[in-house]
């Protein structure tokens, strides 16, 4: 097709310019999220201070029981995070060093639970951990115990269940960083006389730190807002903030207070994320790992 040179060039350039017509493509999604996501969150802010008043926040902070829920939430999140690190770091390391078959097996074992529904996995844990569950039955029939162990309706059950759910969120960022670590660096350290433990500690471990930080941050933040798993596996001692919010809405019909607690959780989540993100950026910059 023959066109005047100027037109062809300007059309070609048009495809390359900033192109506000591209912005139009993004507009529907942006408008959608603004209306159906941001507005509901705004509604929570509004109701937290108007139903009946900003005293909602005071009630939360002043009531010992509620503050305990908040502390319990942070405690649980911390325990789950540490458990995820203890279980997840060696797992990611094994994935890094495994051959093709081992890697495939380890990936499958990680991804299959990750893909399946949270509710199904939590339910599966109830069948395993309850007094008449698989674990207790097996232990009793083997004669190891006479009475069922209390594996559920307590912090132990919550920790086990939540760690199970969180493990992929720890391993995946860790592995992503580990997969880019050049293993010849640890070989070089060994050739300079370092033992395997030293080589790991002084070469590999620091290089994997960004992945560890990312996984830790992710697991901690996700654990803060958790509702379903603690509700099913925990006892009255283990009411976490997510369940408090949900119960205030569905049981107490106390929308204003529930919104206030929700906003508190949201602000805490953003604070943790923001601080963690900043620390990550600064450490990466100092170590020259920023890309």
């Amino acid at each position: 097709m023959v066109e005047a040179r100027g037109t062809v060039e300007s059309r070609a350039r048009g495809a390359e310019d900033a192109g506000w017509h591209w912005a139009l493509l993004a507009l529907p999604a942006v408008a959608f999220v603004a209306v159906f996501f941001v507005v509901p969150l705004g509604e929570m802010v509004v109701q937290s201070i108007t139903e009946p008043s900003p005293d909602n926040y005071a009630t939360f902070v002043d009531t010992h029981a509620y503050v305990r829920v908040l502390l319990q939430t942070f405690r649980t999140a911390a325990i789950v995070t540490v458990t995820s690190i203890v279980l997840g770091y060696p797992y990611a390391y094994a994935m890094r060093r495994a051959g093709r078959l081992g890697f495939a097996a380890l990936s499958m074992a990680l991804l299959l639970p990750f893909w399946s529904s949270l509710l199904v996995r939590t339910f599966a844990w109830t069948t395993l951990l309850q007094d008449t569950g698989v674990i207790n039955k097996a232990l009793m029939s083997l004669g190891v115990i006479d009475e069922p162990l209390a594996l559920m309706r307590n912090s132990l059950g919550v920790t086990i269940g939540m760690s199970h759910i969180m493990l992929p969120y720890m391993v995946l960022p860790l592995y992503a960083v580990m997969s880019r670590i050049d293993l010849s660096l640890t070989d070089a350290a060994k050739s300079l006389g370092a033992g395997p433990v030293t080589a790991f500690r002084r070469v590999f471990l620091p290089l994997s730190a960004p992945g560890l930080a990312a996984g830790t941050l992710l697991v901690f933040v996700l654990s803060l807002g958790f509702y379903i798993t603690p509700a099913l596996l925990g006892g009255p001692q283990n009411v976490l903030i997510g369940q408090l919010i949900a119960d205030q809405v569905s049981i107490n019909v106390n929308f204003g207070f529930a919104s206030a607690v929700g906003i508190v959780l949201l602000v805490l989540t953003l604070l943790v994320l923001g601080t963690g993100g900043l620390l990550l950026q600064r450490s990466a910059a100092f170590k020259g790992l920023a890309r």
């Binding site: 959608f32 969150l41 060696p90 529904s117 199904v120 339910f123 069948t127 433990v197 099913l232 994320l273």
Partner: protein, 263 residues
């Protein structure tokens, strides 16, 4: 070499962790075939629990509702998300970063907060307990997954192809239809599959947005887990597991295709 001793210890530990990951996930499968009516590993096998859930109106309605909600979510999330991913990848403006953050922000807001906010606002619009309300909320949650998936596809596009099309006289719509779209199809389909699973398995928002007459599969399961606990739950769990695995396996394979075909 002594390092192989350490390596073996790590592998052994990883195997234990792998068992920890897999066994609870898979334990529902044998339980679903139990002839008895308790949730335990079966002594004798039977399909009766599968028959029970397919015979039950409650479970069948829930499955059908879940499917409808998920399909509607997929359609809207894929269309909105693909357009947005493409638009934000091409638009040169300082607004792109913040807008991308906005569209991905549902990922960092704890679900229970979003669920309560949605419940409060949508009830004023009178769409709680309706398919409309639930689909709108699910589209918000599925959008980030579509955007990440399509976004990574778009990043592998060779800009020269679009320039060549433009130089041959193609307008933007034609370029999109004949050049861009065919190349990003794997990313779009993968995103659609992630969107499907996001809606299909979603529980927290569904708890707030459903009603006694309008319930999705996870909501029914949630209510049954605390009241009537028998192997029918294991059967439902197994079915859900099968669906999730198939859908997400397909999505992962599609994303590998995108990556490998573009180096």
């Amino acid at each position: 070499m002594s390092c192989s001793r350490h390596r073996k210890a790590v592998y052994a530990f990883a195997t234990l962790v792998g068992a920890f990951l897999l066994l609870p996930t898979l334990v529902v499968v044998p339980m679903s075939f139990n002839k008895g009516s308790r949730l335990e590993l079966p002594h004798s096998l039977s399909l009766k629990w599968y028959e029970a859930i397919f015979d039950s109106t409650m479970w069948r309605d829930a499955m059908w509702t879940s499917a409808q909600v998920a399909l509607l979510t997929v359609v809207f999330a894929t269309v909105l998300g693909t357009a947005a991913a493409l638009g934000l990848a091409r638009w040169r403006s300082k607004a792109v970063g913040p807008l991308m953050g906005l569209l991905l922000s549902p990922l960092i807001v704890p679900v229970v907060i979003f669920a309560v906010g949605v419940f409060l606002r949508y009830s004023q619009w009178h769409i709680t307990g309706t398919m409309t309300g639930l689909v709108l909320a699910h589209v918000v949650m599925a959008l980030p997954f579509v955007m990440v998936s399509v976004g990574s596809s778009v990043r592998t596009l060779d800009r020269n192809l679009e320039l060549a099309a433009a130089s041959l006289g193609a307008g933007p719509v034609l370029t999109f239809r004949r050049v861009i779209l065919p190349l990003i199809v794997p990313g779009v389909v993968a995103g659609a599959l992630f969107a499907f699973i996001t809606s299909w398995d979603e529980i927290v928002v569904a708890i707030f947005m459903t009603s006694p007459t309008f319930r999705t599969l996870p909501v029914v399961m949630w209510s049954q887990v605390r009241t009537q606990v028998d192997p029918s739950l294991a059967a439902v769990g197994t079915l859900l597991l099968a669906v999730s695995t198939l859908v997400l396996l397909a999505a992962t394979l599609l994303r590998r295709t995108t990556r490998s075909s573009h180096g």
